[in-house]
Symmetry: C2
Subunit: 128 residues, 2 copies
């Protein structure tokens, strides 16, 4: 439950960041619990529209389920929006990466703090 | 509170309808209470994206606040999406109308059950 509240607070923080930067952004009600594919956040400016799966973690590696990633790709193709992962590692700002950059092994999809620092984008870079 | 639950159930019903018809649709978390302009539902298929303000009523006339309509127009221009109003009058299916069809008088923005039956669209017509 604590992790869920932390997750929601993280999503709210991101939504504020978008609005402060002249984008629109909303949290999706029930994302993670409704039966339909859904991101945590949808954001947009002009013709650009993005969908985001958000994670906050105290670990050095962030894992994603196959379903989370499949849903992002499915939605991205279906409604022509950009799929993004947003990860907030401890004592760091949000970093963003597209799901095709995840490491795939037999058990999971993941990315480490070090890798996203190299391959990912900052919030300001995401907006460009 | 009863009206709010009825409203949320109405929104959920609409979301199901969209998915059953091969569209994506999500409810926006906190719409009506968050400080940023937000619709009740965002829906899309292919390049088409729509934002919807939903109302369920036992009355013969549905009113909207100036802010609700201003927000829809603001978002529509900002992120190039179609603004729609969805109204479910008692013992009727959902009907849809764009906000520029509302009647404007000194006090309010509204539309009657009779008018929306003539000028509005059914769910299936909305999808075309």
């Amino acid at each position: 439950m604590k992790q869920k509240i932390k997750g929601v607070n993280g999503e709210r923080e991101l939504v504020h960041l978008f609005w402060q930067n002249n984008w629109t952004a909303w949290r999706i009600a029930g994302s993670g619990s409704i039966k339909y594919p859904s991101p945590d956040i949808v954001a947009g400016k002009g013709l650009r529209k993005i969908i985001i799966e958000c994670k906050t973690t105290n670990s050095e590696i962030q894992y994603f389920s196959q379903k989370e990633i499949d849903d992002l790709f499915f939605l991205s193709e279906k409604i022509h929006v950009e799929p993004w992962l947003a990860i907030k590692f401890s004592r760091q700002d949000w970093l963003f990466i597209q799901p095709n950059y995840l490491n795939i092994n037999s058990k999971s999809l993941c990315i480490s703090k070090k890798e996203i620092e190299i391959k990912g984008k900052t919030f300001q870079q995401l907006l460009i």
